[in-house]
Symmetry: C2
Subunit: 340 residues, 2 copies
């Protein structure tokens, strides 16, 4: 086993100083052609590669981006990571991934862990618990220490930083608008509890769309789900008692669950019930019927977030001007809505 070779070892072997070796490898004109070639040959032979940690310490840059997300076993977040990783890689950055598991404490611990020099900046999406507690001091703190943060998807207005989101409210509006324009009468909503920021926005979009068409949003037509495991009865109740002809669900899990329950009750989708979901993930594509949905391009979102972070990292002067970028969405029509 041959261990990694260092400048010091090369210097010793060739009987020159460490600085000579370093300069030779970096093609400094200070060094004679002769020794330079000798050193380079030797370095190549022993496959010398500078130690990243030492470079990080010296340069005070790690070329590493920290990602903190609630879950990775979630297609949307996986696509975002994929987008981040791609852009990061193109720019010579690595990504280090931490999962908060929707827990405030884990989010805080992970941030503190990474903030102590391991990374140059954060890309994150808030955990549910953090959104519930509205406690963002851990984020404020790293920003105060001069470490840039880019938030995506689940963001908050209470923290000043770059953000990249979709227009959740508008997207939801468009889905409901689609229903209204196509003459659906009783449009139900399956959404999250209000403290989930994106859920709330999508709920607002639903309500506004109805209002703008002179309909009232009836609370009986709205189901707010806290826990996906125990949501069946609530959705069944909505389907049974209100007999909606269309359902807008704020994520694909809610959409597919609604469809499954409807099927069990003898309702055919899309004949008896039309469904539009949110997030164009695996489920929407492959379930039967495939689900019409608001596409939310995670790859693009992650890519933009990474770009914004890297731009800020490589700016000379600091800039207090924070941007919020919108990633466009659109309705993907599939089998769960009728072709008209």
């Amino acid at each position: 086993m041959k261990r990694k070779v260092t400048l010091k070892q090369i210097a010793k072997e060739l009987d020159v100083s460490i600085s000579t070796v370093s300069k030779s490898l970096r093609n400094s004109p200070e060094i004679s052609e002769d020794t330079r070639q000798k050193v380079q040959a030797f370095a190549k032979l022993y496959n010398y590669r500078p130690n990243n940690i030492a470079l990080s310490l010296k340069n005070k840059k790690t070329k590493t981006i920290g990602i903190i997300i609630p879950e990775i076993v979630h297609h949307f977040f996986a696509t975002v990571i994929s987008g981040i990783e791609q852009v990061a890689n193109e720019n010579g950055y690595n990504v280090i991934v931490c999962l908060s598991d929707e827990s405030f404490d884990k989010e805080v611990i992970n941030m503190e862990m990474l903030a102590n020099g391991s990374i140059d900046g954060f890309i994150m999406s808030l955990s549910k618990e953090t959104q519930l507690k509205k406690d963002f001091h851990h984020i404020e703190e790293v920003i105060n220490q001069g470490m840039p943060v880019v938030m995506f998807d689940r963001v908050t207005n209470e923290v000043l930083c770059d953000k990249v989101i979709i227009d959740d409210q508008l997207a939801a509006y468009e889905a409901v608008d689609f229903f209204i324009k196509n003459n659906f009468k009783k449009i139900g909503l399956v959404t999250t509890v209000d403290y989930v920021s994106v859920g709330k926005l999508r709920t607002d979009g639903y309500i506004n769309a109805l209002k703008d068409h002179d309909r009232t949003a009836d609370d009986a037509m709205i189901v707010k789900i806290e826990d996906i495991e125990n949501c069946a009865s609530k959705i069944e109740k909505l389907l049974q008692e209100q007999k909606p002809d269309a359902i807008f669900a704020v994520n694909e899990l809610f959409a597919v669950t609604t469809i499954k329950l409807a099927n069990k009750m003898g309702l055919k989708v899309p004949e008896d019930l039309s469904v539009i979901g949110f997030t164009d993930g695996i489920i929407s594509q492959f379930s039967t019927p495939s689900i019409s949905t608001i596409s939310q391009n995670g790859i693009k979102m992650g890519g933009r977030a990474a770009q914004m972070l890297i731009e800020r990292l490589e700016m000379e002067e600091e800039n207090e001007l924070y941007r919020t970028e919108l990633i466009e969405t659109h309705l993907v029509e599939r089998e769960s809505t009728p072709t008209l």
Copy 2:
């Protein structure tokens, strides 16, 4: 903005030496109660945290695990990462994720990038291209440099290292065995091209199960798919010409695609055709009908891989004895197979 405070700054403020500060914070008995308290109070006030990079350089340990996988937008790999992250976190490790995108070159570049000090060890699954080329010198190299590697799922016998896999052949055998025991006559196989290691093993399991029951594996009953985008015609041909009553598919994408095509041809699942897939992912759970499948616990797989790696990292003496651990699988019966 207050930047991160260092030992040096504390030392200067309190007019003591750096070593005194360091020792005070680590509760060394060398330091008087008095100064110790003073230093600790000051450090707490300014929220001192040791710099990870400096510690890594000094200790020659980064407490970071490098993960290299073909894709993250793939439920199985996401669950594996989740499992790795959990165990890593419990042991004070972080994970840094790189994606090879199924490309040999990206796999090599990523490994070289991380091997230069950024991480303590690798957990990886081979890219398709690497499996095709059978070129593993990049892996041999990092192992030679004393950096432990744990491979999972897509592994190779040509590299000596710890591995964690499922018994792909046995699992496939059991799926086919299930069909045979339940009196299915014409059992088809939808699999990958042979160079994908796990695909080949599952194919072998299929063949062996047939042989053991005195049936011959007919090539006409086997479809080998290179590219999921252009597989429809091949599968349709199998369904049409051979009229199988059961299909074993080596992953869930193949399974759901087969079901969709069968539906299009007017075949009902499971009445006219039974299907068993592989990998208990989102698709299998939520498609209609839900798909019977061989469950492959990614969380457990990742967890075991992380344990093996960390054990090896924290061993004193080096140990050339490499283990291959098997994660058990089982058949999850759902709607795509008849209840008997």
